[in-house]
Symmetry: C2
DNA sequence: GATAATTTGTTATAATAATAACGAATAAAA
DNA sequence: TTTTATTCGTTATTATTATAACAAATTATC
């Protein structure tokens, strides 16, 4: 019998975040290969698409198991399934979203129409003008009914699309409701508050600053 | 005289991307310190806020120059300015955005109201229903007028909020128009097309998969 | 004014990540 | 059937990144 966490399922215990960051990319390129009708791929070809090295490709997969076959390579379908398993894409996590502004609405639509693992079951806002309106097929609820909703429904994940100023207090409330995983679009570091939570940050302003840095650097180099 | 690229401006030539990724975070925490009325900070306190080590803080800054004072620490205002300089936040880059959907609209608002370095001067879409409507104070233009617009206006950066299927062709068009830097929200790796461009990717679906992985992993660990 | 306490900048070390090398397994060719 | 060409999985090496250690500079204290 294979239990979750069983050694048979994987090889390494502590996977480095560098490897994890590459997994969705592998998944994406494998999907493309499948669409192109390619059934088998070797580490070199995959590396070329990923702008990586064959060595790294092989070692990345080796963290989890032996997915390939010597002399042949990897089955595109098989490898796709393995990565799906590793990432847990077959799981279904009920999620709520707080903040039905521009980004909140965009993310709500993304969650509802372009994603399977997270199922958006509630949207909340504190703006009277937004409450009652429809976003991604759901009616925006008052933030005041958040507690009751979370007590009546199992909520695994919260998506935070609120301003920085509201993030800390809101996180406190959600943590007390037992929510331990967050997709965080607010410009605030939740991880500092509670070390035992899982947070995936999308800091758009950090991203824009890095773009600014790289443009500035490249134009300076050109001028030299 | 200090020229750009002059050794006086910095110390290291090749800054690692790990350091660059931390810079916006430093900037953020320094802004918070300034708001709290704190004028000076030492590497240890800053490290604590950043969830880092004093050693790393000192070494990060040392890539660019000597910003602190032995026995005292760093001036919050002074350090903020230095990071602003390094990141090039004082620059003003004209930008266009393509794809006025949900995410496009959200990003357009972010660019217009919560950012200074990029100035949004044009929004384009190919959807007849969107052309002519107003987004972030600008009128959405037809994608057919993109070429003419770019020839009449200096455009430094393009923000891509289009579906994966449209990204490659669009990037080709923009590259021909001389645009070499991209804030890319489409699920496609532009860098593969043209190695000489600057791309900052925001791959939301990669982000969501990583969140899924970490939740799945943490729930499996709990069950053991 | 001398000494102790801070705290930086820098060098040395340790830890991590990426690449290269190579044996073992498989398929194709001779 | 044997040999050759592939290609993985794994180990060894190199490169990169993070941490620790310590001298030099500054301030505060005695």
């Amino acid at each position: 019998m294979i239990k979750s966490g069983d050694k048979q399922m994987g090889k390494k215990d502590n996977i480095s975040s560098s490897v994890i960051q590459r997994l969705p990319r592998y998944y994406r390129f494998l999907s493309e290969l499948e669409k192109e009708g390619i059934t088998h791929v070797n580490s070199g070809e995959l590396a070329q698409r990923m702008r990586s090295t064959a060595s790294q490709v092989r070692q990345d997969f080796n963290c989890f198991g032996e997915f390939g076959q010597q002399g042949i390579g990897y089955s595109v379908k098989g490898l796709t399934k393995e990565i799906e398993n590793i990432l847990g894409l077959k799981n279904r996590y009920p999620a709520i979203l707080i903040g039905a502004g521009n980004i909140g609405t965009a993310i709500a639509n993304q969650l509802t129409f372009e994603n399977k693992c997270f199922q958006l079951i509630g949207i909340f806002d504190n703006d009277e003008n937004k409450i009652g309106s429809e976003v991604a097929g759901l009616t925006v609820q008052s933030i005041l009914s958040l507690d009751e909703f979370c007590k009546n429904n199992h909520v695994e994940t919260a998506v935070l699309c609120v301003p920085k100023t509201a993030a800390a207090e809101l996180a406190h409330q959600l943590y007390k409701l037992g929510i331990k995983s967050y997709w965080n679009f607010s410009h605030y570091d939740l991880k500092l508050l509670y070390p035992d939570i899982v947070v995936e940050n999308v800091h758009l302003s950090d991203s824009i600053m890095q773009l600014c840095f790289r443009i500035t650097q490249s134009t300076n180099i050109d001028k030299q």
